[in-house]
Amino acid sequence: MLSLPLVGLPWIVRLNGQPHADWQQFLGRFHPLAVHLPVTLILLVPLLELAGRRKPALREAAGFVLGLAFAGCIASVMLGYLLAFGSGAAGPGVTRHMWGGILLTLCTMLCLLTRPLWAVSAADKGYPALLAITLILMMWAAHQGGSITHGSNYLTVYAPRPIKTIVSLGSSQAKSDSFYAQHIDPIWDKKCLSCHGDGQVKGKLRMDTFEALMMGGKDGPVIVPNKPEDSLLLKRVTLPEGHKQFMPAEGKPPLSKEEITWIRAWIQQGASPTVTHLEGISIREQRDIPLEPVGDYSALQPEIDRMKSVPGAKLLTVSAKPSDGLILNTLDVVDSFGDAQLAQFEKYAPYIVEVDLARTAITDASFTTLAQFTHLRAIHLDNTSVTGNGIEKLAGLKQLTYLNLSGTKITSESAARLKSLRSLRHIYLFNTPAQPLAPAAEARKTS
């Protein structure tokens, strides 16, 4: 009986994307708050049921908790509906979340109905199965809700690369190298899609594809090619902050000056989805590779501290964060620091991210040692007597971005053996026999 109005609600009162009364929104905004109550309660039920095997009192409590969860579900659905109806939210994400909530409430109710049967005879498997479905449904519905609030990429945006690749495999739309795909679309992604995307579609504007963007929203087109001053989108994001129509609304982070400059230039120059370069806008490549944390070297810390208190080579920390790694500093003892001395640092090898061997007595023999320093990002070998013999051993240093060989005897042949070092961005060959190669090396530098 109860389920009918619940399931029928979307047909009785349609979500038409128009905002309605303020009181609805006022109450509705408690939905994100209230919704956590049934979520927690539902999670509690299976725990209580399992724990109830040992302590029957807990199992008795499960029934009560389930009842509470059901009541919470009803309240959340009502508030959620008020929120969506009141604020005029619509879109596939909203619809999914709505049905998720309704189905979840129904499932909870069924659980509540089947539980007494199961309590009488444990052979009745209907309740456990329903409870499992309820849990899965809840996770899905909750995720839909989260995507509406925070945007669908909220969970993955800071994920490590491998996870990102896995996640994007399904929807891998080869990212073109157009200015739009590289620089403009990511702005929408970051600042706009949580309200104008797959999840919610406020003001009937979707910005998740180029075509949808150009179709505009309820006030017509938002981008007018070549006419930034007529483009509603640019107008709304450049209003004074706090203006009623300012976008992004609701205190979400505004666009940066740079982003606005890019959008303006992009519209000015035709708002094309394919153009790869815009006149007057130069964007430097993101040069920073996120630092990979080194392991825990706290056991070696006493020795590192001891080194600091006596003259000699030292291990300095990159920053206050130990996982940023160590720097081998030999500036105090350049004359007496040779291959043997470097070899003594092998036990610190995985924790050292930079070695400064400039002007030391190091020779080619040290390439073997250096190859053990797997976390190295920078090697300074300038003004040493290395000739590059064995330099290919460094090819295993996957994180090496900086290699300074200035003032050494390195030849162009040995320099060429570094080609396989893909991560390398800065290689310095000033004042070496290899210098004729320098223009090529320069070209590899992003400066």
């Binding site: 130069s282 430097r284 920053s319 940023d324 500093n329 105090d332 000033f430």
Partner: protein, 515 residues
């Protein structure tokens, strides 16, 4: 260890009861600890406690700190610095004392030519109080720059004809046209720029860096200052050692100024008849006496003295090696010019700054005086630019080709800018420019900053800033950021305040300048 004569630290007092003594002796000792004894001691302890409260907590920290930091302040290890992985490990600050005229060098205002000799509109100048040097002037006529500007580099940045060398660098520079200061006269302005405060007594940028980041090479000072020889034809404002002073920080963090003529450090060489071995012997003996004193008294200042003697001894080798340019190849002289062979010239100091960067000096500040062009801009400015232009170019280019620019921050700037209106007579041939704090141009390059940009904009008269102002405190906060320091966290308790370089007015790192 013997007790310090002033020490009433009962916790670390010799505990007689634990000594291996006959039981009756111990008992006698215990019985001596009478009530009167207790009261007598307690009174004294209360007095010391009150004194400790009066002198503040610094004197108490002294005991806890490592012997390397004599003032009782936390050393770099305890400070937990850098706060985050830095882009730059070291910095070189080319300081143009006197206030270079931005309008004739960097801030191109082509529209001013049409405004020649017209008064600047009141709306531009507003109610600003000008200096006593021009306050009496009947009018403030616009003096357009005498020099042409051309576009350079891929970025097409406008630079004046006065800078034929530096203009080649524009694609690597981060030009800040909206630097502005609160002070209109030299001394307060130069103090503000260097120490973050117009009043003397605060540590300068270099001292904060030395204090916070520590040394990379124990054979050389962490913070070195190079002064350029005076050109008597220029209007030289004084530059005093408080600009590189350490203020309330321990004096070991003060800049060490190398002399521009003769030995870079006085008495660096051994006197006649004293060879290195004799010197070593003498130091060993002195050190032994000092160590005994430390054992006896436990004052960390003694250890710091030992460290200073040792540093001086090592500098006897490291400084001559640093100042020995004989092994520099011809390419160096082709780059810096023959002038760089003459000690004390700006070019020489630039080359020296590069050699210091190679040897791990944390902060080098090069001073060039004479930019105070109140009159005869047309006569003096080409001279000034001629002196520094090639040096700046050579230094940046040299650091870049040697791979040092990746982790070195180079900063160029003065204490304020100069006015658009002429001080004194204005003619087609010549003019003067007064102090102007509201906007001036500085530049940075290297580790941490974004190359090839011009940041901030001034109005048509280069008088007021219309976009993205960078006040001195933000400028300094940004420099610290490049070196891995959160300017709000590098503090030192003094006079009841957590003192910091950027002062008490909220300062921000200018993210638009960052790479």
């Amino acid at each position: 260890m013997k007790q310090h004569p002033l020490c009433t630290d009962t916790e670390h007092e010799l505990d007689v009861s634990r000594l291996a003594l006959p039981a009756e002796v111990l008992q006698e000792w215990a019985s001596l600890q009478t009530r009167r004894h207790f009261l007598g001691r307690a009174g004294k302890v209360m007095g010391w406690a009150a004194l400790a409260g009066l002198v503040g907590d610094r004197s108490l920290q002294t005991h806890a700190s490592s012997p390397k930091t004599p003032a009782g302040a936390p050393g770099p290890d305890e400070l937990k610095l850098p706060h985050f992985a830095p882009k730059a490990k070291r910095a070189i600050y080319l300081f143009m004392s006197g206030g270079p005229p931005q309008l004739d060098m960097w801030d191109y205002k082509p529209n001013l030519a049409a405004q020649y000799d017209k008064d600047i509109p009141d709306s531009v100048r507003g109610a600003q109080q000008v200096t006593g040097m021009t306050a009496g002037q009947a009018r403030f006529p616009v003096a357009p720059s005498h020099w042409d500007f051309k576009r350079y580099g891929q970025t097409g940045t406008y630079v004046s004809d006065l800078l034929p060398y530096t203009s080649k660098l524009v694609d690597d520079l981060t030009i800040i046209k909206s630097t502005n200061t609160d002070a209109i006269n030299h001394e307060p302005a130069i103090m503000l720029m260097n120490t973050g405060n117009m009043n003397a007594g605060k540590p300068c940028l270099g001292s904060w860096l030395a204090y916070g980041l520590g040394s990379m090479n124990d054979n050389l000072p962490t913070f070195l200052v190079l002064q350029t020889k005076l050109n008597p034809k220029q209007d030289n404002q004084p530059v005093s050692s408080r600009l590189w002073g350490s203020g309330f920080l321990s004096s070991e963090y003060a800049g060490v100024s190398l002399r521009s003529a003769g030995d870079p450090v006085l008495y660096i060489g051994n006197p006649d008849g004293v060879d290195s071995a004799t010197r070593r012997q003498m130091l060993d003996a002195v050190n032994q006496i000092n160590r005994e004193t430390y054992e006896e008294v436990g004052d960390p200042e003694t250890n710091s003295r030992i460290a200073q003697y040792e540093m001086a001894y090592r500098m006897q080798t490291s400084v001559p090696e640093l100042a020995d340019f004989s092994k520099e190849p011809q390419t160096t002289w082709d780059l810096y010019g023959e002038e760089a062979k003459e000690p004390g010239t700006f070019a020489y100091n630039c080359l020296m700054a590069r050699r210091m960067a190679e040897r791990g000096v944390r902060f080098t500040q090069v001073y060039k005086r004479g930019w105070d062009v109140h009159g005869n801009v047309v006569g003096t400015l080409p001279q000034l630019c001629g002196e520094v232009d090639r040096g700046c170019y050579a230094l940046v280019t040299d650091l870049k080709q040697r791979g040092l620019l990746d982790d070195t921050l180079v900063i160029w700037g003065g204490e304020f800018g100069r006015t658009v209106y002429s001080q004194g007579g204005l003619s087609r041939e010549n003019y003067g420019r007064d102090h102007h704090p509201r906007c001036f141009t500085t530049w940075m390059t290297g580790g941490g900053v974004r190359p090839g940009i011009s940041y901030g904009e001034t109005d048509d008269y280069s008088y007021n800033i219309v976009k993205d102002p960078v006040p001195v405190r933000d400028f300094n906060a940004t420099i610290l950021h490049c070196l891995g320091i959160d300017h709000n966290k590098l503090t030192y308790k003094f006079q009841g305040l957590d003192q910091k370089l950027t002062g008490t007015t909220p300062a921000n790192v200018v993210t638009g300048l960052l790479a």
